[in-house]
Amino acid sequence: MPVRLIAADDWRPSSMTEHRLLELEREGLLRSRVSSLRPEWIAPAADHREPRPPKGYVVSFAKFHCHGLGSPLRCFMRALCHHYGVELQHFSPNAITAATVFAAVCEGYLGMMPHWDLWLHLYRGELFHAPVEPQG
């Protein structure tokens, strides 16, 4: 039976600045911004209280890249999005870790691309519930 989530979180304004994104780039966690017409990444404008990505962009989190989200994005991430019916921002940081570890085991130890049936055999999706403060 599907599980319904009662509460929904609002977006928090982003703390990511161009300086912080450049740091991630220097650490090798993001590709070089390169083009000014179609940069690899964009820091949110100060008036963006919630994401409003330009056409051709998705919303990502610094933590995702610290946890192994490759850039350019793996086809495996695309498969995960489509199978679970979600967008990139819906993954938790630990979900990114799980996918990265799985891909590393497949490619580094088993000598194959991430195997979809093996993924489904080993992993399941869970809906994360934010803790709800008791009222009264």
Binding site: M1, P2, R4, L5, A8, D9, D10, W11, R12, P13, S14, S15, M16, R20, L21, R38, W41, I42, E50, P51, P53, G56, Y57, V58, V59, S60, F61, A62, K63, H67, P72, L73, M77, H83, Y84, G85, V86, E87, L88, Q89, H90, F91, S92, P93, N94, A95, T97, A98, A99, L118, W119, L120, H121, L122, Y123, R124, G125, E126, L127, F128
Partner: protein, 67 residues
């Protein structure tokens, strides 16, 4: 939830694979991660476009797969 609502976990429940894996705790502290968002170029439209939709349900197929 708008972000971070899908967790992917090993099937280690009693009904799935009892005692098959050694439990491992994740030590990272994710506090404040959801305020560190930015825009990332979507190479070749590889990923679904951002719509901002809420995930309100846990569909059954999130749990099942090849057994």
């Amino acid at each position: 939830m708008r972000a971070g609502c899908l967790n992917l976990v090993l099937k280690t429940g009693k009904a799935e694979k009892p005692r098959e894996y050694i439990p491992v705790g994740l030590t990272s502290n994710h506090a404040g991660w959801d305020s560190q968002w930015f825009y990332l170029w979507n190479d070749d439209d590889l990923l679904p476009a951002y719509t901002g939709r809420l995930i309100l349900e846990h569909p059954d197929h999130w749990r099942y797969g090849v057994v």
